[in-house]
């Protein structure tokens, strides 16, 4: 199959950008991210990863794939499997038909990824576009620089990993051909949805209020005998913000890029000015990450309230930003 790989910063938006381009609709990665209203913030103390609460800077997995269906009038087909053999057979069958197939996988079992990044995270998206003579799958992993190959046994494990967000062999592909939407209709709707998520979420742990809630939790961290746990806690926040393919600043830069594109498509320079503001906010998130890392390494004394203040300042700026965005949309 003729397939054009391009590197992206985030797996799900990268997969959808490549898949749509392959089917004749060239949408950038930031456009798939923004159009599906994927930007968010959530602090979920109930969901623990290795004993630490989950912090997310975007909507839950599959939100981008599903969220693009309405604005693009696109129907995606999703298939999961109770038994791995059936899932393998179906993937091979689709590849034999020449289809490009999206897969949900666990990062831990993908041998081509760097060892230190292979944790048990089950919602990593890759594209399969063919098989080698040896039987190895040819994959386009959006966060990798080039296409990769993966032995069948490893890919099967990755697709049928157990635990939170278990993929159950999920594969997906579009039905029909995507068409360019009416930008003047879909872009304002997507922008408004993001402002609703960030400003009006009914739970205090989502959106701007979620950032303040996290600040409160960091305020209470112990800098004395519990310092080791406190460092793991703040380290986890930065890992979710920077390490897990976010394009930097917890997806704030990728969303700013989307705003620049939207400004051009709609002929609204106000959105371009808002993009500038969001780039500044992304820089502040990166300063927060830097301050945190310095405390983890004891280059600066561990002082959680200082980090909490930084987060509150970011929350104030994001609140003002999303209110302006709502008016501009």
């Amino acid at each position: 199959m003729e397939f054009q790989h391009s590197q992206a910063s985030h797996c799900e938006s990268g997969v959808m950008s490549a898949m749509l381009r392959h089917h004749g609709l060239p949408l950038s990665e930031p456009m798939t991210f923004g159009l599906s209203s994927a930007l968010s913030f959530a602090y979920l103390p109930i969901i623990k990863i290795n004993g630490l609460p989950l912090v997310a800077y975007r909507m839950p997995p599959k939100a981008i794939i599903k969220g693009l269906q309405k604005p693009l009038g696109l129907k995606m087909r999703f298939e999961t499997f109770g038994n791995p053999a059936a899932g393998v057979a179906r993937l091979n069958d689709l590849l034999d038909q020449g289809k490009l197939v999206g897969l949900q996988t666990s990062v831990f079992w993908l041998p081509y990824l760097p060892q230190d990044l292979r944790f048990h995270f089950n919602a990593h998206n890759v594209l399969a576009f063919g098989r080698e003579a040896s039987g190895d799958y040819r994959l386009s992993d959006p966060v990798a620089e080039t296409v990769v190959t993966c032995p069948p046994a490893d890919l099967q494990r990755a697709r049928f990993a157990k635990g939170a967000l278990a993929p159950r062999g999920l594969l997906y592909y579009p039905l029909g051909t995507p068409r360019a939407p009416d930008w003047h209709k879909v872009l304002p709707a997507a922008l408004k949805k993001t402002t609703r998520i960030m400003l009006d979420a009914p739970l205090p742990i989502i959106g701007v209020r979620g950032i303040r809630w996290l600040a409160k939790a960091i305020d209470k961290l112990d800098a004395g005998s519990g310092a080791a746990h406190s460092k793991m806690f703040i380290g986890q926040v930065v890992r979710m913000q920077e390490e897990i393919g976010t394009g930097g600043g917890g997806f704030r830069f990728i969303y700013a890029s989307f705003l620049q594109e939207a400004a051009d498509l709609l002929g609204r320079p106000a959105l371009g000015e808002l993009a500038e503001q969001l780039i500044d906010i992304g820089d502040e998130w990166r300063e927060f990450a830097l301050a945190t890392a310095r405390m983890i390494r004891d280059r600066d004394p561990l002082h959680p309230p200082k980090l909490a203040d930084k987060l509150r300042a970011i929350a104030d700026r994001e609140q003002a930003f999303f209110r302006d965005l709502r008016r501009a949309a």
Binding site: Q7, S9, N50, D116, H120, R157, K162, G247, A289
Partner: protein, 131 residues
């Protein structure tokens, strides 16, 4: 972030890979820039990896001293904890903790050992040893 400010200081946890970041070019537009790594990311990734290595090494020492079973060591070595191993193997958490007792682990049935080994991607022979 300007594209000239994208960190290129290297990050050993990336294993030589470069990752895509969004940064502002001279025309004011954001675009993808490859980053060789930022020390901040290296610090927080290493922190998580080192914590798991510490747990595995601690369990290995206790397994060699006969205070726990090799099961606990391998669980941490494959970056799992008890709740995750329970989900991956279908075995209840309290049973897994019971199987950390060396005397009970020594008497486990081959099929139960095979279930554990399969969940962690090991052979049964590997699972029985803590080295």
């Amino acid at each position: 972030m300007l594209d000239s400010e994208v960190p290129q200081e290297g990050n050993s946890t990336l294993g030589g890979h470069r990752k895509a970041m969004y940064a502002r070019g001279t025309d004011g537009k954001l675009h993808i820039v490859q980053s060789a790594g930022w020390e901040v990311e290296e610090i927080v990734t290493k922190q998580a990896v080192d914590d798991l290595l510490r747990l595995a090494e601690d369990a290995r020492q206790r397994a060699l001293a006969g205070q726990t079973s090799p099961l606990e060591y391998h669980m941490y070595r494959v970056r799992m904890d008890v709740p995750l191993l329970a989900q991956a193997s279908g075995i209840w958490q309290w049973r897994i903790r019971r199987h950390f007792r060396p005397a009970i682990f020594a008497k486990l049935s081959p099929s139960l050992l095979a279930t554990y080994a399969d969940a962690m991607g090991l052979s049964v022979e590997q699972l029985k040893k803590a080295d």
